[in-house]
Symmetry: C2
Subunit: 429 residues, 2 copies
């Protein structure tokens, strides 16, 4: 074993970074044995230098992250600051100064992954980011390496723990969105500003990363259709239950049947209780991967949290360090397939639509005609009367999002339709 240590700088020492530092210290011998050389924490960049940080030598702490990544003697830079800047510039600078990079930053990777991969490649360095998607769950590596000889057709999963916690609460207690969110916040599962989670931005970033890797093509964050879960109601859960379903916020990346284009989207959807994703509780994550030869695989585990995320970061750190020692680099960006990313209108799935309608004869026939005119075939209709008003619950067969939207627009124009109470996609069947 080499005795000269590999030098690692830590950018950020918060929830994730502090766990990375802790494990690097407490498990130093194991890491050294697995890498083939010791690793040394060469510096820790933070915002607040005076904050007490257990187990970290204060002499290593700096607020000058730029100077740290420019030292020139670093083997690996671990970026766990988060956000776009200064993380992006720091990573690029790290590559220019000869370091490889491990990051947990989904927002940055989803937005600038291509440029960062290019910077890594130009400098002959590695960019690894297993922790950016689904925390501790090995997902990027299996997609990028284990399935490198297969053709992935679909990735479907729960990749945001905060929203899964909220939806799980709503499902199990009948609580409304706000009440469940408040509990998630109180328990530390939701941040003070939960926008990134509940509006689906976080899941959309992960979907962009996953789709890119799974399909060997570039998928930009803007390419991902995104619908948050703030409008999911207790009534939606009641409808879901009647159908033997629950509601999950799903990230879905699919290859079109013709193989020439892909789609990526994030939205709440009903899934059957018999589907394994339906029983993913609390803040856990789970992702299904469907590929041509392997068939259906599922990966399940803690999607966030300091220690789980640090586990993923350290797995990457070991890999990147091994590569440094052997003078090689791991797989870089693979975007050779250059597939078209189709708009949401092209996505084909099933829908659950609740309509408030006038309770009089002929309404069902009118509504059914509208569906038929738009080529959306109906699977089941349930009619419920309530004092002169009635509700119609329609579940469709598979239809394109565009056709469904056309249908809904036309339904709204019917004067027997008082309103469209909810539209939800039905997945996982």
């Amino acid at each position: 074993m080499r005795t000269r240590p590999l030098k690692v700088a830590l950018l950020g020492c918060g929830v994730v970074g502090s766990e990375v530092a802790r494990i690097m210290t407490t498990h130093a011998d194991d890491l050294a044995a697995r890498i083939g050389a010791p690793v040394e924490l060469a510096g820790v960049a933070v915002r607040r230098p005076s904050k007490a940080r257990e187990g970290i030598d204060p002499a290593l702490v700096t607020t000058d992250a730029t100077a740290l990544v420019k030292r020139g003697d670093l083997d690996v830079v671990v970026e766990v600051i988060g956000g776009i800047e200064p993380a992006r510039t720091l990573i690029t600078t790290a590559f220019e100064h000869g370091a490889s990079v491990v990051s947990a930053n989904k927002a940055l990777l989803a937005q600038d992954g291509a440029a960062l991969h290019a910077a890594a490649e130009q400098n002959g360095r590695d960019l690894y980011y297993e922790a950016a998607v689904a925390g501790a769950i090995p997902l990027i590596r299996p997609l990028r390496e284990s399935l490198a000889g297969d053709k992935v057709n679909r990735v479907l999963g729960i990749v945001n723990g905060t929203t899964n916690f909220i939806l799980d609460k709503m499902d199990s207690t009948g609580a409304g969105y706000q009440e469940a969110l408040d509990e998630a916040t109180a328990l530390g599962y939701a941040e003070a500003d939960p926008t990134a989670d509940v509006e689906g931005f976080d899941a959309a970033a992960k979907a962009a990363i996953l789709a890119g890797i799974a399909f060997h093509t570039r998928v930009r964050l803007d390419d991902v259709y995104r619908e948050g879960m703030t409008e999911v109601t207790a009534a939606d859960f009641a409808s879901a239950k009647e159908m033997g379903c629950t509601i999950k916020l799903l990230a879905i990346c699919e290859r079109a049947a013709d193989g020439a284009s892909v789609t990526a989207r994030v939205h709440p959807a009903m899934i059957p209780l018999s589907h394994p994703l339906a029983s993913v509780r609390g803040a856990y994550n789970a992702v299904f991967v469907e590929s041509e030869a392997a068939g259906q695989l599922m990966f399940y585990g803690p999607g966030a949290g300091g220690a789980p995320t640090a586990s993923a970061v350290l797995g990457d750190l070991v890999a990147v360090c091994r590569n440094r020692l052997s003078g090689a680099t791991g797989p870089g960006e693979s975007a050779y397939a250059a597939l078209r990313v189709s708009p949401m209108g092209d996505v084909v799935t099933r829908y659950h639509i609740s309509l408030d309608v006038a309770d009089k004869p002929g309404v069902l026939a009118q509504v059914a005609t509208v569906f038929a005119e738009h080529g959306v075939s109906i699977d089941t209709v349930r009619q419920q009367g309530k004092d002169g008003e009635a509700s119609l619950v329609v579940v469709t067969h598979r239809a394109s999002d565009a056709a469904l939207n056309g249908t809904v627009e036309a339904l709204r124009k019917l004067d027997t339709v008082r309103g469209v109470a909810s539209i939800m996609r039905v997945e996982g069947e």
Copy 2:
């Protein structure tokens, strides 16, 4: 991209090998793009040269596997013959002649993994075998690479599809073992000689491989405690149901609480219906991995079959080819921890014991005394009378296998105990 192809020899062209060859041909462009060079099928060794093999150039087919691996111009040898010899000698010879090796051979890897890894290392070549455990499910790579910065404490899973199919049938239909086995055989899920599967040899080989990788230590096949599932009865399933459990053949690799030793075992066990492994149907496999930082991860998918297994083989092939191009090798054997493998007697778990006893007062007290004398604490007892005879069903708290065996031996000596109808471990709680 390099245009000179990498040369791959295929040893064996049966269920798995024919799928490997098919995908190498039909997905040649994708493989080339992902590897960075085309791959060429340089030869196919089989036993029966005259058998028609769709899509394979007859000029490539040979019965002289030894001459094939000695060619000296091969980059990778894919061994999908199975069994110990000639596979072992062919792999060693392949290394000596400069090739890296991808294998799906759990029997060989479990028996001779250390020697084969040493041969690979001596020759500066790779030995990859993702397909040897749990077919298509990425498991070896996640354990070896994704969790390389973490400390795995437990691996628990269903790693044999044949026995899971049989047990699932018994559970869902109430069939006995033989009837369920016959159905598995008729449907092609069990081989004509099912011994390796039903006696747990196949799962034990996988447990040895998994334990070795998970704990960074050498675990020999002989170190794995093995109990088959041929004696599981419909009555056992009925008892399991009463406890809210089902029965699965589990492979369990554990680190002892003191961290200094490990155990590996394969046996049927009751697990609660609420445990995710309980709902693993048919020939599917699923494996839980518990580690210090990541917590509980689960990997699920098809554990066998030509195409799924080929997916894993091809993932390895891509990795090994990339390593060839970069002049590096991937992670080799990691056995630095050199932990003691404890015998089965040290394993601590819970037990479900059915006793046939005389239906008279004082029997329960006698039985309870025997448990207490051996330090095995009882969780619940259920007593059922049936015409002068009675049965006692005891579920224990956690106790060592040695203590349980001592208890059972003493129970058999009681003249009020007519017989020990069944003993089954209870896991996953």
